[in-house]
Symmetry: C2
Amino acid sequence: MNAMTPSPTTNKRQHVVDTAYALFKRDGFHATGIDRIIAEADIAKMTMYRHFPSKDELIVEVLEHRARRFERQLDRLAQEVATPEQKIGKIFDWHERWFRSADFHGCLFAHALAEFGDPGHPVFKAVARQKNGLKRRMQSILEEVMPPGQAESAAAALLMLIEGATLMAQMGQPAIDGARKAAAAIIASARTPQ
Amino acid sequence: MNAMTPSPTTNKRQHVVDTAYALFKRDGFHATGIDRIIAEADIAKMTMYRHFPSKDELIVEVLEHRARRFERQLDRLAQEVATPEQKIGKIFDWHERWFRSADFHGCLFAHALAEFGDPGHPVFKAVARQKNGLKRRMQSILEEVMPPGQAESAAAALLMLIEGATLMAQMGQPAIDGARKAAAAIIASARTPQ
DNA sequence: TAGGTATGAGACAGACCTGTCTCATCACCG
DNA sequence: CGGTGATGAGACAGGTCTGTCTCATACCTA
């Protein structure tokens, strides 16, 4: 296997992940059958099952791939600005662009949580990892300007706002501006408690 | 049909709704089959299909029943207190108790939105009605102490907080206190803009 | 050229899905 | 007693689900 030419295995595997992502996003997890995925990806069923031992593991793979991509994008955005307020602002910017994108269908992780509510299920755990990652990111940003305790609860509040804004955006109600103002009020309040 | 004795039709119908609610809440909508519902409710399949023309309509009925129940409970709680802050506080109280309840599995409406993402689908519309109802309720409470424009965006922010808190509660992360503090900051900020 | 690997194509199993149909039964009511 | 409406029980159709299996076919490399 030449190291310069990408492995065909990797290509097929990623192609399945991308195709499954698009279908899961639009139609949901249980409503999207394996047959639909392989038809859309134009691959044989066995090709998929050779890469992923089960549909559940494919779902986890899709979620983890999207989570990594999300983290990379936020990393990049954070480097563009200096102050904690600006970094938080960039996170809201990211979501605002996402809400306006043509194929926005809500948060895939929240949807996964809705369909896999068992805390022991691998999909549930993958969702928890992603949400905790975002919360930790905001928390460490806020710790630059407030004590850790304040930063923890403020980060939780910001995460709630973002999740809520995503849900409202899915219902066609633009609320990112309100979320932004509320976030500013929360941060200001945490900066100067009482 | 005697008006004093409740119609057996109504009883069976409600029994199906209640049983379906418990199963949808725990396992999701697509993952819960008709066969499971009628087995758990201990009724014949035809009895169900005589009351509900399709599974989708049963889902809508379940959602609407829960929405009516929710509205009644909030109506009652609102009458116990006087100030807008207290009324909003009662809404957060309700959610706090809900999060602590033994069979809490997240918001059924949010889950329905995850599985029925088509805005034209009756289930989607039922979800939008419920969320808009809660937002309107908070908005009219807030209009007692701030201009309508401020009340609208503050209500949207509070709704986002509540939805986000529900999602975090489902992931086992208690965040209602943080949401409460954030709500106070939002309302204070809207009361005295700038 | 020979061999190993990835893939394609599709049959197949066994279960589950929604929704319809028939026939029997039971309760109530005039 | 006779009739009516709600219900029970279960077969049935037609489709879809996940996952496994076999066999043929490319393709790259040694």
